[in-house]
Amino acid sequence: MSKENLNNTSNWKAKLDALDNLPGDTAYDKNDVWEKLHARLGDNRRDTIKAWYWVAAACIFFALLIPLFYSDSNNHHAANSALNEHQSSIKIPSGDKDDKAPVTNLTVAGNERKFPAASSKTITKMIHENAKENIRLSHTVSPTSLMTPTESNFTAPLDTLSSLANTQPEIKKLKVVHINELGDPVETLPEIVKNSDKHAFQFKIASQETYINPATASNTNGFTILKIKTSQN
């Protein structure tokens, strides 16, 4: 359709625009329609006020939540950083092939301790290092911050190791002494023992009274001395 006379305002169009009632048509109740419209506008105002109340309540709620959220997140970050530091500081020495076993292999089952891959020397060294690290962490990080991240799984082996380190008593190096340097243990017996062992045994042989004194017997290198007391008869 090439001819599009859009600005052509015919008489009939003007008549149609001006139409506001039809002969024989039941006129609509203007007031009734207005009441409906007015009610809807009023409802909307009430809804708007209600919506603002909700927005205000939500703002207050979030304002109350923010400090809680920040305190939680700060604790979490501190604990995470501490754990990361802790984790990075634990290194298994890579000298021997046996020492390359992962830390998670260290298990404590009941009273029995198993260290499957690492040599006892290396493990002792690791335990000492871990104990030192624990002491250092306890100075820098609060205990509550270390308690929080126990939910995560990767902390379990670390906890096992640290508990192991805590329960391990410190090994004292004793002076190595040759057995000859200790001397004769019999000679160093306390005097009280000797006195207690001093028993005299009396018996009669051919109507002669005889007794044995062990104190005197020890001095004679195994020879028992029998002392005979002759009767006055």
Partner: protein, 184 residues
């Protein structure tokens, strides 16, 4: 009280001014809605929705004249009607291969009263009626009508042609027809 003052008061939230505007335009706007939607109840509801939107968005309207104000409200009402019709899915129109270029003798329509023209238009099927209203009365080009109704431009043209043919038939039935340059 003139319309500019009324608009100013409506913007300030005056219920009385809203009522005045409603009384001023509701009659005409209801018939505009009825040209698109046959049912008087639906038309009334659509007019109500249109006024509601008008009062809600009046803050953005700047008054430049009575005609512009009426045009703005009318546009809101027409959009409401088109939305209503689109929801009812009445625009599943099939495009014809050739849209006949049929011109409607406007002299014939001029001889009719507003009520007669209104009754003729209302009798058209919904697709014809919508395109006829938009193109012939509102003056919207086919391209825009196609975009508004979600149809092709060709469909819009063919619908208009058919609506004109149908109107001429109706006029002929009424005894109003064009004979060799003369209208009888």
């Amino acid at each position: 009280m003139n319309l500019s003052e009324l608009i100013k008061e409506v913007k300030e939230g005056s219920n009385a001014a809203q009522k005045c505007l409603f009384d001023e335009f509701s009659g005409k706007l209801l018939f505009i809605c009825r040209r698109y939607v046959k049912s008087p109840e639906d038309a009334e509801e659509l007019m109500l929705n249109g006024f509601y939107k008008f009062f809600k968005t009046i803050g953005t309207f700047s008054y430049r004249g009575d005609a512009e104000l009426f045009g703005w409200i009318k546009k809101i009402m027409i959009n409401e009607c088109l939305m209503f019709l689109r929801k009812k899915n009445v625009f599943t129109l099939v495009s014809d291969a050739e849209a006949e270029n049929i011109s409607l003798d406007e002299d014939l329509l001029d001889r009719l009263s507003a009520a007669e023209i209104f009754n003729l238009i209302v009798q058209l099927p919904v697709g014809y009626r919508t395109v006829f209203n938009l193109y012939e009365i509102e003056g919207i080009p086919h391209k825009d009508i196609a975009a508004l109704l979600g149809i092709s431009e060709g469909t819009s043209k063919s619908q208009l042609s058919k609506s004109k043919i149908l109107l001429q038939k109706m006029l002929f039935k009424k005894g109003i027809h064009y004979v060799k340059g003369k209208s009888q």
